[in-house]
Symmetry: C2
Subunit: 542 residues, 2 copies
Amino acid sequence: MKQFMNGRDALVTDAVDGLVRTSGGRLARLDGYPHIKVVVRTDWDRSKVALVSGGGSGHEPSHAGFVGQGMLTAAVCGEVFASPSVDAVLAGILAVTGKAGCLLIVKNYTGDRLNFGLAAERARAFGLRVNMVIVDDDVALPHLPQARGVAGTLFVHKIAGAAAEAGQDLDAVTAAAQRVIAGVASIGMSLDTCTVPGSPKEDRIADGKAELGLGIHGEAGVQQVSFTGARSAMAMVLEKLAPHVTGDSNVALLNNLGGATPLEMSVLAAELAASPLGGRIQAIVGPAALMTSLDMQGFSVSVLPATADDLTALAAPVAPAAWPGMQAIVPLAIRPLPDGLAPLKALASAHPLRRGLIESCCAALIAAEADLNLLDAKSGDGDTGSTLATAARALLAAIDGLPLADITQAYRAIGSELSQTMGGSSGVLLAIFFAAAGDASASGKDWIAALQVGLARVMQVGGAKPGDRTMIDALEPALAGLGHGLPVAAAAARQGADATAGMVRAKAGRASYLSEDKLAGHNDPGAEGVARLFAFLAEKHG
Amino acid sequence: MKQFMNGRDALVTDAVDGLVRTSGGRLARLDGYPHIKVVVRTDWDRSKVALVSGGGSGHEPSHAGFVGQGMLTAAVCGEVFASPSVDAVLAGILAVTGKAGCLLIVKNYTGDRLNFGLAAERARAFGLRVNMVIVDDDVALPHLPQARGVAGTLFVHKIAGAAAEAGQDLDAVTAAAQRVIAGVASIGMSLDTCTVPGSPKEDRIADGKAELGLGIHGEAGVQQVSFTGARSAMAMVLEKLAPHVTGDSNVALLNNLGGATPLEMSVLAAELAASPLGGRIQAIVGPAALMTSLDMQGFSVSVLPATADDLTALAAPVAPAAWPGMQAIVPLAIRPLPDGLAPLKALASAHPLRRGLIESCCAALIAAEADLNLLDAKSGDGDTGSTLATAARALLAAIDGLPLADITQAYRAIGSELSQTMGGSSGVLLAIFFAAAGDASASGKDWIAALQVGLARVMQVGGAKPGDRTMIDALEPALAGLGHGLPVAAAAARQGADATAGMVRAKAGRASYLSEDKLAGHNDPGAEGVARLFAFLAEKHG
């Protein structure tokens, strides 16, 4: 079993129960399991024309998912790909039909026609007014007079549903359905077959091939075609549809046959909209899974010539959440990029003390390169020293252009410089550190408090805190001590860095994926780098 | 390539364009392809708090599908499973943020945290108010302090979205998001891995196994478990969730990870509702694809302890069609079967003439059994004669119980009898024929006209018409001639039956699948049977 079910026999009954229980009370089912699986509206008083549809299961949300105000009144569910029994259809009709009568919407398959047809006769024997329409929208087999009923059925549900909801009589609702059926045309394409629950999957479609004009019950397509991408796939489908499309006011329905991803469906929507036929299509329903074939990785396009009344009917809100609504197809709306993506470069200015401190920091990190690499090799890929040294060299090379006289601008410029030259997470974190320090500085914090704001932001964004075996274990005590002078800060950094050797459960960063024995006894290389930096500063400037 | 796309590089950009073009003008995207892929609301005046989310693609409809009134203001899309760049996030923030500020909703992945975090810093440098929250709802890895962000993110989008839409300020919107994040817990299960576009599929999960606690980027689950069905699968998921669920007022979100069919998702919904934990869950969002992992055949459950305010926020209508709404979980509503499924059996009554005609019809069909079988063997499975003879024998056996004195009841009773004893399509069609004749008779038609109504109904339901090489080719002219006496009817039936030998393109019924050379020169066996029947009647009663 490779499906989420409790055995094949319980699949449809369990699924109907799930639908009913998660309907918020909008839906009920008839007693009569396992043979009679009928979903009905609970908010139904028989005062209007009832719409009953159904057929084999495996096409969800069709049809039970479309039961609700504005669409179907009842759905009669067969087993997977099998027509429901005459008794089941009759039960559905009798459960919802009042004096206004009932319209059966049936897809053109022999079993469905016969079983719905006989059920209609039996219902008429009770004096009920029952009409039946047969949806035959598939254009894949142009020479077969009995075209199949596929996703175009949704247009019938929606437009006849709106007519019934508006209180039109049975003849008017039937005529609306007939008009939609006469106009709608559909065709599908798939890259793979569907998996029938409990059966092995047929491996019919080779790599690089697609089936065009396939049915919704796993029937083979009319032809296998070469598949080279979404654009040509949509073009092939639309080429088959185009002869059936009339006029310039059309609505398309883009149906996911079940297993195509939303990404793929959106790509297909873009291709449909951009196609020559797309210019004759005003609005679209979907892309959405509307008439699926279990998990089939395919799609179908249905096109309906639509009057203004049809557009109103299709746009009318309905209760079933499975109906995705209709949207106008619009030209691609592209907004210009906002200003500010390229940060303004502040003018260079001099500040000898700050320059000296920065140069010392860089010198410290360059000097520590080999040692930090060795340390990192014990728990990582041995490049912490080189990463920091490379950034230091780049900062030294850029130092003449920094706005050193303005501490806010200086912090921001250092952050910007580091984000451009330093790869990976550490570059981003240092950029955040200095950018936040710059902001804090701009809002009046002194230079040390500003750096502490930067550290707090790094902790929020990076998710690490003291004790997690990261550079924070040295940086946090160093900044806390900095107000008492560089020697105090350096001592605190050293103590913090050395403490990381005992932190054998790294909780953030790459080392969190390593086992304890790889970490014990070695300082975290980032923390060690911070300690070396403050030691150098204390010696030179303290 | 086994995906509907135009190459992997164009997948996300094409998909974003498809989303925008089918949004009815509600959405736009920023210029800046291919690196900057940002979807924004067009109906946005920056007067309220902006909500910006995003991350790697492959989780659709998250996040671009949730851009719209009441949810996100902008979504920043990375490539499949890859974080968007800092510039892209910054572009999104700058494009939508006004004086009310902006909340970034970020799933807890290092790349997303860093890139959104740095973008936030850069936006703050422009004086914008930007807050950021990190969603970490996954409970699969209880010992990892950095829990992943998965489908529970949708609760954040919706509740923070409702707060922003209501005009709350940035701190209040942020606090709402933080509260949701603190409360929500999620875990997933899958039967298969996902297919990363352009890459071969990893075949990691054997038949009979499932992965519990897997991520949304194809990461392996925390454990592989035996999969024995939907019930135990849901039980395992809920067992992991239960320790994180508090109180008795909770909302569940049942998420399709992409490749589970709607049938499977409804079965899982039923199991969730029926579970012990289900009793502590008031309402459900879904089942629906909300935070997918491409085509992964799996699901996740998220549970949020919900206040009355939360329920109101979750129930608020929103623009994005991808949001399925929230529904109360209700007890299973089961309606009794309607009366009338077992047809009333009319009382037997005598009518010697009708009885004689029926007995003759039956005798004719029994006599023709072997000949009709031979004829059918040329174009079918050789059982037409036996099918008709078996039905005739059953009708003869039942004739004493028929209400022959009432023509309406007699027709209906014959139809009912045939539908019970005759298998297959022909039994249903004959049942329809006599049931419709009975109704027509009840409404005042004479017995011949009533049979013609029956034939018309058979043609509507069965889809065949004269010329399609079916029994109709004999029956239709026979009924047309019947008013002029049985000999005329018999001659017409014979002429009609013989004409079928020249109909080499059967257009309905089983023979429509056969090639011309199998059909040419042979009468259709059904039409031949009708001709034999009328010949017998004419000889005996004419």
